[in-house]
Amino acid sequence: MRQFSLLSRRVGLVFMAPAGILVATFVIAPFFWVIFVSFTNRSLLGRTAVHPDFVGFANYLHLFDPSAFFTRGEFGFSLILTTQFVILSALFGQALLGIVLAWLLQSVPRPLKAITEAMVIGAWILPEVVIGFAWFAFLDYDNGTANMILSALHLPRGDWLLGMPFWVIVVFNTWRGTAFSMMLFNSAFASIPPSYFQAADVAGASSFQKFRDIGLPLIRGHVVTDLILITMWTFNVFTPFLLTHGGPSYRTELLSIYTYRVAFKDFEFGKGAAVGVMVMLINLCFALFYLWVARRRSHEVKA
């Protein structure tokens, strides 16, 4: 039987119009425009702000100039730094800590579970400016809580933001984003029938054995989803800027912060656009991979 439609095609299109116009103007148009601008020498000020020249692939050649590629403050350095940042803070930090927390929270007393969840989620939902300032105070050399605790334990104090800025933003981003993985794995574990675990209990399995042999294999799909999503988000995150401003001397200049500096500090829009295009290409690969995985999973469910 053919379903009769509740809305005619014309009314449907009218309903679509407001959202369609907004998305077309502020998502789709920028996508194509930035590609065009990346082939020009457009700047924020001066003659080329109004009448930019077409420069072909010059911006891209500049980004991939082998003599300066790995120098601090250049594109290649930021790209490698961002890759390390994603691997350490998203894949190892957030995902690993998230799955451990989700597993632990299943078997701890309810009040402890509620408080821990509130702390982890609090780190995730508070405005990024507030979080940035909280960490600035936390890491302060003279009075910060981190050094206060170290002193109390008779350990040496650290000048974190100057001494090891990269590790600071790795820990910072792990702290900030673990909540998502924790919640995703939490609901994934909750969807496993309890009888599986009860059977393992009868057989005398330890918690780690249950995790390795029952929990992990059954939530494999969720793990893939989680890894791709947090990789995409971490790759684009700008929040570390609020803590380190990309410094000292470019040592925490992730791609997002590099783009900001090139376009809005150095006013080189053409070059900034070229970086934007590269980032979009990388995002596109992640997103297509994600859609492919999601489709394959939904086919598996149907089969």
Binding site: R9, F15, T116, L126, P127
Partner: protein, 276 residues
């Protein structure tokens, strides 16, 4: 007996480990429990003596700071209204009308919105807004957020509407309702919980955002709280800690309130998948 003991020990171990991790997450925030109420707060943790609200009084005397909160409210509410209206209408149409290729539309939009995000988007968005002559207007901030959040909102809402039986509206139309009446009087009340989720999600996203208003706005009287907060720095660049702490707390309150509201209403798990 031995096994009982081992079970008990592992339970204890789990609780201790969880408590330690929880404490680790709490540490950077403890400072915020005390500093706003301490008239001599510094970057270290100190129990306020005396406990005072003078920092808040100081913030409320600062017109620029208050205008920041008001601007945040204007931008968030504006964006939320556009996202709520646009996404509800569009996802209803995607679910109920015979538009060709409607599955593909949602996925393509979602793909675009995840590719044109964050660091990749700041240059093109700045250029579009400049071309539209909307630089340094709050309207620009509202529109940019509405466009950027729309695809995800549509995706969530369409799933929600697809889960509602068509027979609800069909029986209303058999009883003589027009399609528009069926939408407003029958479908809309049923969709409302889904709209609430979208609204809360969009509000939290816009309220907390820093980068977009930071690059699109110039005049200080238009800045939202996330940018205005940087006025609490002295000329030498050192933060005025007392005011910053009190202002941060005020600025965080709506987010905390919404978090409590959502976890009370839906359980927070629901919120999990949808922060962009």
């Amino acid at each position: 007996m031995n096994r009982q003991f081992r079970l008990f020990a592992s339970r204890m171990g789990f609780s201790v480990l969880t408590a330690l991790i929880g404490a680790g997450f709490a540490l950077p925030l403890i400072w915020f429990l005390f500093a706003p109420f301490n008239a001599r707060a510094e970057l270290g943790i100190a129990i306020p003596d005396p406990f005072t609200l003078s920092n808040f009084a100081e913030v409320f005397r600062n017109g620029f700071a208050l205008r920041g909160l008001l601007n945040s409210l204007v931008e968030s509410v504006g964006g939320v209204i556009l996202v709520g209206l646009g996404a509800t209408l569009a996802s209803y149409a995607l679910s109920r009308s015979p538009i060709p290729g409607k599955r593909a539309i949602t996925y393509v939009l979602l793909l675009f919105s995840s590719v044109v995000s964050g660091s990749a988007a700041m240059v093109p968005i700045f250029l579009i807004v400049t071309a539209l002559r909307l630089i340094d207007t709050q309207l620009a901030v509202v529109l940019v957020f509405a466009g950027g959040l729309m695809p995800t909102a549509m995706f969530i809402l369409r799933d929600f509407i697809d889960g509602i039986p068509r027979s609800y509206e069909e029986s209303a139309m058999v009883a003589g309702a027009s399609p528009l009446q069926a939408f407003f009087d029958v479908a809309l009340p049923v969709i409302r919980p889904g709209i609430v989720v979208i609204v809360v999600w969009a509000f939290v996203n816009i309220w907390g955002s820093f980068l977009i208003p930071f690059i699109l706005l110039r005049s200080s009287e238009k800045m939202p709280a996330s940018v205005a907060i940087y006025s609490f720095y002295s000329e030498a660049g050192t933060p005025v800690v007392t005011l910053l702490a009190a202002y941060s707390l005020l600025y965080s309150l709506p987010v905390i309130a919404l978090y409590l509201f959502v976890s009370w209403k839906f359980g927070f798990r629901f919120f999990g998948g949808i922060k962009a």
